[in-house]
Amino acid sequence: MDLAANLMLGFEVALSPINLVYCLVGVLVGTLIGVLPGIGPIATISMLLPITFHLPPVSALIMLAGIYYGAQYGGSTTAILVNLPGEASSVVTCIDGYQMARQGRAGPALAVAALGSLFAGCVATLMLAAFAQPLASAALLFGPAEYFSLMAFGLVLAIVLAQGSLVPAFAMIAVGLLLGLAGSDVTTGADRLTFGLIELSEGVDFVPLAMGLYAIPEIVKNLEQPEQRSVLRERIQGLWPTADDFRRAWPATLRGTGIGSALGILPGSGSMLAAFSAYMVEKQVSRRPEEFGQGAVEGVAAPESANNAHAQTSFIPLLSLGIPPNAVMALMAGAMTIQGIQPGPQVMSAKPDLFWGMIASMWIGNVMLVVINLPLIRIWVALLKVPYRLLYIAILVFCCVGVYSLHNSTFDIVLLIVFSLVGYAFAKWKLDPAPLVLAFILGPMIEENLRRALLVSNGDPTVFLSRPLSLAFLLAALGMIVLFTLPKVKQRRDAALQE
C-alpha cells in the first residue's frame, strides 16, 4: 500500500464519530492541563491510563496523543498571559510572549503561537507518516543482537540527555531495569524480586509507577509553596497579527519546526530542549538580537513551533522501532501494553488502522486546537482562577480511583504510596525519573533480546560486535558517553538543559 492509500485508511478511522469525540476530548484536556500550571502531560497521562483500559485501543491512543500535543498549545497561553509556564516546554515562550502581552499585543502573540504550532504539527506529522514506515520495515529485519544494541543506544541517549550528571542517570537506568525485570521470568517461570508476593508475580504495574514518580510528587511540590498567580488584567483585543508580524514569524516558524522535528527523534530529549534550542538559534540568526526579551515575535513563533513539532516526531521511534524516546512516549508505550499491543516495528503492519488512524487524528487534532482554542482563550484564562487548593484534591481522588480500578486491588494503591515516596525523594535529590521509566519499559525487551542473541550465537558474546549494524549502535552509544564526558561538551549540555 502506498502512502495515499494508507492515509485514506487513517482518515477513515480517525473521522469515525467515536474517534473524533476522543480526539476532541484529548485536545481539550491537553489544553486545559497545558493552561493550568502545576499539572503537566506526564502526570495527566499517567492519571488517565486506567481509563484507557476501558476504551478501544485506537480511541485510547488518539486521546492520549491529543493530550500531549494539546498541552503544548495550552502551555503557551499561560506563558503569554500570566508569565508562568503552564507547561515546562513553554518556559522560553514566557520571555518574549509576556513582553508582547504587556505591550498590549497578547492577541497577536497567542495567534502566532497557535498558527506556528499548527504549521509545525502538520509538517511534523507528515514526517512521521513518511519516515516511520521505512524505519519500521528496516527494523523488521533486525535480529535480536541488533535490537539489543539499538535499545542500549537508546538508553545511553536517555542518560546523556537527562538533567544532572551521568552517574546518577546510569543508576536510575539500573533501578528502572530492575523494576522492569521484577516478576516471574518469561522462560523459566522463576520468581524474581517479588518479595514472595503473588501480586508482584505479573511484574510491577506501570500505572502506579508512573503516577507515583510523576503525579503525586508534583502535587506535594506544588503544595509546598503558597500559590501566587497574577492574571493579566487588560482585555485581549485584536487577535490578528500584523503583516510585519507575519513577515518576521514565518521564517522563525520554519526553523523552529526543523529543529523540533529533528530533536524529537532523539531519545532522551524533552520538548523543552527543542524550544530552548530554537530560541537560541533565532537569537543568533536575527538581525535584531537586541529585541529578544523585549517582545520579539520570533521569540514566540520559534519555540512554540519547535515544541509542537517535537511532540509529533517523538512518536517516530516509538511507533517504528518500539523504543520510547522520552517519558511521555514511555507512557504511550505503557498504554499500548495495557491494550495488549507490544510496541515495535510489527505494529504498523499488524495494526495499520491503529498507526494510520493515529497519524490522521493528529492532523485533525491540530486543526481542532486552533479552531476551538483561539475563540475560547477567555474561558481558559477564567479557568486559571481555579485555585490549586481545589484542584489538587480532585487530582488526588482521580488518582486513587484510577489505580484501584486497574485490578480492583488495594495492593496497587499501596504500590502507589511506595513509588510516591520514592518519587518525592528523587525530586528532592534532583534525580530525573525519565531514564528510570524508559528502562522500565525497555527492561523486559532488552533481556529477551540479549538472551535470544546469545542463545543463537551459542553463548558467544562477540555476536554483538561481529554484526555490523549492532556494532554501529554500540559504537554510537560509546561515542555518546565519551563525547558527553568531555568537559567542554558537558558544560554546553548543562547550560542547555538548565531550566
Binding site: P168, V175, L178, L223, A394, L396, L421
Partner: protein
C-alpha cells in the same frame, strides 16, 4: 577546602553532614547501594545460569552489581566534591497526601466509593493551610457524587459504591 553548607538549609546540616561536600549525592548514592543490596539478597536463590543459557537471575544480578557500583561512585564522589545542600522535605503535605491515599486503600472495599471519597478528601484537605472547610465540604460531596456516577454507573467498574447493608461487614 570544605564547601560551606547553606546556613539557611534547615535539614540536618549539623556536625557530620557539614563535612560532606555534596550531601544530596551522598544520600542518593546510599539509597542506590541499599537498593542494590536488597536486590542481591532477594535474588540470592535465583539461578544465574551461564552466558549461553542465561538463567532468570543473570541480568537482574548483573544490574544489581552495576547499581551498587554507581551508588558507590556517587557516595565516594560526594565526600570530595561540592554540591547543593539538602533540600527541605515538607513533611506535612507529603504525609497528608500519602495518608489520604492510605485512607482510600483501607476504606474502598469496606465503605464503598462514595463514603471513602468523602473521607479521603477530608484528609487530603489538611495538606495545606489554604483549605477552607466550607469549600472542602462542597468539593468532597461533588467529587464523591461525580466519581460514583462516572466510575460505577457510566464506566460500570465493579467498585462497591455504598457501604454494605450490615455494619458488621465493615469491621
Amino acid at each position: 577546602m570544605i564547601p560551606r553548607a547553606d546556613p539557611r538549609a534547615p535539614s540536618p546540616s549539623t556536625g557530620l553532614w557539614r563535612r560532606v561536600g555534596a550531601p544530596t549525592e551522598l544520600l542518593a548514592g546510599l539509597f542506590f547501594m541499599a537498593l542494590a543490596a536488597l536486590g542481591l539478597w532477594l535474588l540470592r536463590d535465583v539461578r544465574l545460569g551461564t552466558a549461553m543459557r542465561m538463567g532468570p537471575g543473570f541480568l537482574p544480578t548483573s544490574v544489581c552489581y552495576g547499581l551498587l557500583l554507581f551508588g558507590l561512585i556517587m557516595a565516594g564522589r560526594s565526600l570530595v566534591t561540592a554540591g547543593p545542600p539538602l533540600a527541605r522535605w515538607h513533611l506535612r503535605p507529603l504525609g497528608v497526601v500519602l495518608g489520604s491515599l492510605l485512607v482510600f486503600a483501607v476504606g474502598i472495599q469496606r465503605l464503598g466509593l462514595f463514603v471513602t471519597t468523602l473521607l479521603a478528601v477530608a484528609v487530603a484537605a489538611l495538606a495545606t493551610p489554604e483549605s477552607r472547610w466550607r469549600e472542602v465540604v462542597v468539593i468532597a460531596v461533588a467529587l464523591a457524587a461525580f466519581s460514583t456516577v462516572l466510575f460505577v454507573r457510566a464506566l460500570g467498574l465493579p467498585i462497591p459504591a455504598w457501604p454494605p447493608v450490615s455494619w458488621a461487614q465493615v469491621f
